[in-house]
Subunit: 103 residues, 2 copies
């Protein structure tokens, strides 16, 4: 089964689905940070100016549902949760890279 980002009936094209997914106050910044490192809730909350836990929580959940991030429970010493880019998420990196050149 080809995994699509979302199956919204009226949503014809994938580009639109992606735009919708990445629109929201914190979403682009979250994605950008996830490209560099695995991210953590508390770190995002501190580092992204204007972030608040509710919005953050929803954004992470939506990225997870879309299959761009995966939640990982790290069971070692300081037991915590990380969100990592999935392969699908990584697939978007070259597109954003290319975008920098065009604009």
């Amino acid at each position: 089964m080809t995994d699509k980002i979302q199956n919204i009936p009226n949503e014809t094209c994938p580009a639109q689905a992606l735009l919708k997914l990445l629109s929201g106050k914190l979403k682009p910044e979250i994605f950008k940070m996830a490209v560099d490192n695995p991210i953590r809730f508390s770190v995002l909350l501190k580092q992204i100016e204007g972030a608040n836990k509710q919005t953050l929580s929803i954004a992470l959940k939506e990225f997870e549902e879309a299959g761009l991030l995966e939640k990982v429970i790290i069971k070692e010493k300081p037991l915590h949760i990380e969100y990592n880019l999935t392969e699908k998420g990584k697939g978007l990196i070259p597109i954003f890279k290319q975008l920098e050149n065009v604009l």
Copy 2:
């Protein structure tokens, strides 16, 4: 927990600027239609489901300000206004094309 705390240069990177520009209820659809043909206010209003003149008007203005669309007054026969993709706007097409493959 050795968290690399990097400074967030919360100046918008171009990708973020584009995402912001294209987020809004009608924007992706408007852009998509503009890729195919010059677009007109009244046509968009009829063709895009859920469009209303206020939102449409603001969207077109923002695209214009961003340099993706240009407003052209057609002085011939049935005197009207068109919005055309600029060169900058056209530069985005291959990126969206590429996106369809990745998702």
